[in-house]
């Protein structure tokens, strides 16, 4: 049974946060959903894609978040309800469009759902989307639990249509990727024929052309819309208070942090002393509601992730109201009560409360904790991240790393975002020497490749995944070709957007809904741009290395090497192993000169383990996926491969 569509009104289910968001969109009668895969948001579009045929939706994995927003906006302009989901980075990528969309306004309800990653559990940053709402002057909603993820997304469409602008609903990892109980509402469909009306007057944003000009006029309209939303927020059921009328300490919080605060209050038994104001409407703050609560106490603790957005907005409001409500003492990030970086949890809240209220709390003795640490130090060796067994990236970076060492001119690789980002670690032989955003690998390489003008004589390489290629590499590659930058781009084509769950992209012949779709040929595009293109199978280590050495030493200009081999986690690869592997212990040189445990100490595929007693390597048949690469790595031919039946 597919709960997402078959669950009925009034029924209660255990649902992942992202599924709750998807359900909320379905209950609002969404017609179009777009996004770009990004942890922790990917399941929103994945879920909607799965039911797209059944619910008559159009669901698209767009090439990047900017285009995703544009596609969703088009649906809105044509009178349909649309949703656009992404991780926090996506708001940055699409912000230029969003800036203009916020001025032009929308028609059918459009809801933007960024899923932030405080603590960077699956990101290379812990940046925030909330500030964009304030900066771009659009309403911001923050669900505080799983029920609200559904209910607030649903309501966001209504809000969007009431004010004719896009609404941001911000989630976080600890809600999107967590699960909780959700009671369902009724599914609905929109029976609107899509039609883009533009025949009205120039200034008429509902019936005329969709333009941000004249800017001052439209900007004033945008601000009026925000004021209107603010008025609605005063009575919103998503702002809740629990606790005494005049609490000793008032906690103002939003998002999942309210669950941490609730837990901390319970653990410390402070229900009668501490009040908890959970805000669901965090931009703009409803001033009358805020005033009412600020009045009720002298001490206020503001709890949020990550940087003090809510804290500063509350303080500004409190400053404006100072003559009416008096001076207050604020606790939060700015005074160090809560850490300024990383995610929060119940224990950090407990620390804050014990400090402010001068109480003590020890769930476990320090002696226990110390002893546990000691035993764990001995008995729980840490787990470094690594590529999966059978991952083509391990083979690719083996060849790239070795080619660069043999070339011996301090050549380096500018990294990009995907599973292959792990190549900055020992699992990828530390090959990546820079790492920033999608497409930054080629962008930065394009810059390095011009520095021979200033005496730089190091070979410059960049890597890109197949999905990354379409997201942001294309313009950078054009830049490199047109500006005659000497770089080598290695495209790691594993036929999918692997890190986030193997979603499709324009290089593949299927779309988000699983239908056949025209694919865009990456090597042909590179050639059309003006780069020279070569190919290799990364599992053929020697061939790949030799081709790279040739490319490093012949001629100038932009060269592309496409390394094509499917991801080890893809359904295709999981369905059937390529090889059965065997290791002849009598041939294994092990720790001796001539090998020094190359496969387990350096190559480090988790499918190979070192037997300390016998002093030989062994194949772990549970982990090994049979890619066959280690047979080429072993210097004594102890590892053999045989085609699996």
């Amino acid at each position: 049974m597919l709960i997402l569509t078959e669950g009925r009104e009034g029924e209660r289910y255990l649902l992942m946060g992202n599924a709750a968001i998807a359900r909320g969109a379905l209950e609002a009668g969404v017609s179009v959903a777009t996004g770009y895969p990004g942890t922790p948001s990917s399941e929103i579009v994945d879920n909607l894609a799965r039911v797209s045929k059944e619910r008559n939706l159009y669901v698209e994995w767009s090439v990047n978040e900017k285009v995703a927003m544009e596609v969703a906006a088009a649906a809105s302009f044509a009178g349909l309800r649309s949703l656009c989901a992404m991780k926090q980075n996506g708001i940055n990528v699409g912000s230029d469009f969003l800036l203009h969309l916020a001025i032009t306004g929308t028609r059918g309800g459009m809801v933007l759902v960024p899923c932030d990653d405080p603590g960077a559990l699956s990101s290379a940053n812990e940046g925030e989307s909330r500030h964009f709402a304030r900066m771009l002057e659009i309403p911001l909603l923050e669900p505080g639990d799983f029920q609200e993820l559904k209910d607030m997304v649903k309501w966001a469409f209504e809000l969007s249509e009431a004010i004719h602008n896009v609404v941001m609903v911000r989630s976080v990892t600890r809600l999107s990727h967590a699960s909780g109980n959700v009671t369902f509402g009724e599914l609905s469909t929109f029976d609107t024929q899509a039609h883009f009306e533009f025949s009205g007057a120039f200034l008429d944003s509902r019936q005329g052309p969709v333009l941000s000009l004249p800017v001052a006029y439209k900007h004033a309209q945008q601000q009026a819309k925000l004021q209107s939303a603010m008025g609605m927020f005063e009575e919103s059921p998503f702002n809740t208070y629990s606790g005494p009328v005049n609490p000793e300490l008032l906690i103002i919080t939003s998002s999942v942090c309210h669950l941490y605060a609730k837990e901390a209050i319970s653990l410390l038994e402070l229900k009668d002393r501490v009040g908890l104001l959970k805000l669901g409407t965090t931009w703009p703050l409803p001033p009358r509601l805020m005033e009412q609560h600020l009045r009720s106490t002298e001490k206020i603790l503001i709890v949020e992730e990550v940087i003090p957005f809510l804290e500063e907005n509350v303080k500004i409001l409190a400053g404006d109201l100072a003559t009416q409500i008096g001076a207050k003492t604020f606790f939060g990030k700015n005074d160090g009560t809560l850490p300024r970086v990383g995610e929060l949890n119940p224990d950090l809240l407990v620390n804050a409360l014990t400090k402010i209220l001068d109480i003590s709390y020890d769930p476990v003795s320090q002696a226990y904790v110390n002893r546990a640490k000691e035993l764990a130090f001995r008995g729980a060796p840490s787990r470094d991240l690594t590529f999966c067994s059978g991952c083509p990236h391990r083979a690719s970076f083996w060849a790239i790393h070795n080619a660069l060492e043999m070339d011996n001119r301090a050549g380096f690789v500018c990294g990009d975002i995907g599973c292959y980002s792990l190549a900055m670690f020992p699992c990828g032989y530390g090959t990546l020497k820079t790492l920033h955003a999608m497409g930054s690998g080629v962008g930065i390489a394009s810059g390095f490749g011009k520095l021979n003008l200033f005496g730089m004589d190091q070979p410059v390489l960049a890597v890109s995944g197949d999905s990354t290629f379409f997201h942001a590499v294309l313009p950078a590659l054009v830049n490199a070709v047109h500006n005659d930058s000497d770089i080598i781009l290695v495209i790691l084509d594993n036929s999918g957007t692997a890190m986030t769950g193997f979603q499709p992209h324009p290089g593949l012949p299927i779309d988000a809904a699983g239908n056949a779709a025209p694919s865009v040929d990456i090597p042909a595009v590179c050639e059309a741009i003006g780069a020279s293109v070569r190919f290799s199978d990364p599992f053929d280590l020697e061939e790949t290395q030799n081709i790279l050495l040739d490319m490093l030493n012949e001629g100038k200009g932009v060269k592309v090497l496409v390394l094509r081999q499917i991801c080890a986690l893809s359904p295709e690869r999981k369905a059937g192993r390529m090889y059965d592997m065997a290791l002849d212990e009598s041939l294994c040189l092990g720790e001796n000169c001539g090998c020094n445990r190359l496969c387990t100490r350096v190559f480090k595929c988790p499918g190979l383990i070192w037997d300390k007693e016998k002093k030989v390597a062994k194949i772990d048949e549970v982990i090994c996926t049979g890619c066959g690469v280690c047979a080429s790595v072993c210097p004594s031919n102890a590892i053999s491969k045989r085609e699996a039946i």
Binding site: L14, S179, V364, V369, G379, T600, P606, V622, I623
Partner: protein, 206 residues
């Protein structure tokens, strides 16, 4: 026909293992098994990059009163179900207490640091000693071996769920398991999963 009542409210369980072991599936199955009219379930997960060979944890909270945070507070885990043995020990540092109970799979997955020879992996007797010192009760079961004999190592997590029923602290029953998997699996897989569950309960009888 009574189900097992909650020994603690909220009852806090951590399911831990290595990325790729079916940690998330296990927590979802258990969560759904317990998601009854009068029980609130919250599950907190970390997946994504951590799945690439890293440690993973699911925090499972069950309560009759309200929804709790997706992160268990320090020192408050009542039960640790570990699909990989050293992860149980690792989790105890932050979330363990002398009252914690541990149900642990025996099969190691060696961290790359151990494979590379930079670190040592503890022997099973040593690990059991460490776990027993820090907790109230420890059960170690050969879940992966049982799963291998059934034909697929990934069934290890289901074997563990069957074993967990026998521990007797959580309101879970075989019927709950059966109805949950009927909803999420295709018909051809149900039989194998039930076998795995039963194997788990059998392992605890010894």
């Amino acid at each position: 026909m009574g189900k097992v009542p909650l020994v603690h409210d909220p009852y806090n369980m951590i399911i831990t293992g290595v990325g790729g072991q079916g940690n998330v599936t296990a927590s979802q199955v258990l969560g759904n098994m317990m998601s009854r009219e009068d029980l609130y379930v919250t599950i907190g997960e970390t997946f994504g990059a951590s799945q690439r060979g890293g440690s993973v944890m699911s925090h499972l909270r069950v309560s009759s009163e309200t929804s709790w945070s997706p992160q268990i507070p320090r020192g408050r885990a009542h039960m640790i179900m570990a699909l990989e043995p050293i992860e149980a020990l690792r989790v105890l540092v932050d979330y363990g207490s002398p009252e914690t109970k541990v149900l642990c799979n025996s099969r190691p997955i060696y961290p790359v640091g151990v494979i590379a020879g930079d670190m040592e992996y503890p022997s099973q007797p040593d690990l059991r000693t460490y776990l027993e010192e820090l907790t109230e009760a420890v059960w170690i079961v050969d879940a992966t071996d049982a799963a291998l004999r059934l034909g697929d190592p990934i069934l290890g997590n289901i074997v563990m769920i069957g074993a967990l029923e026998r521990v007797g602290e959580l309101p879970i029953r075989r019927e709950d398991f059966k109805s949950v998997i009927a909803q999420i699996l295709t018909a051809d897989k149900i039989d194998m999963n039930l076998k795995a569950y039963d194997r788990g309960t059998e392992l605890m009888r010894n």
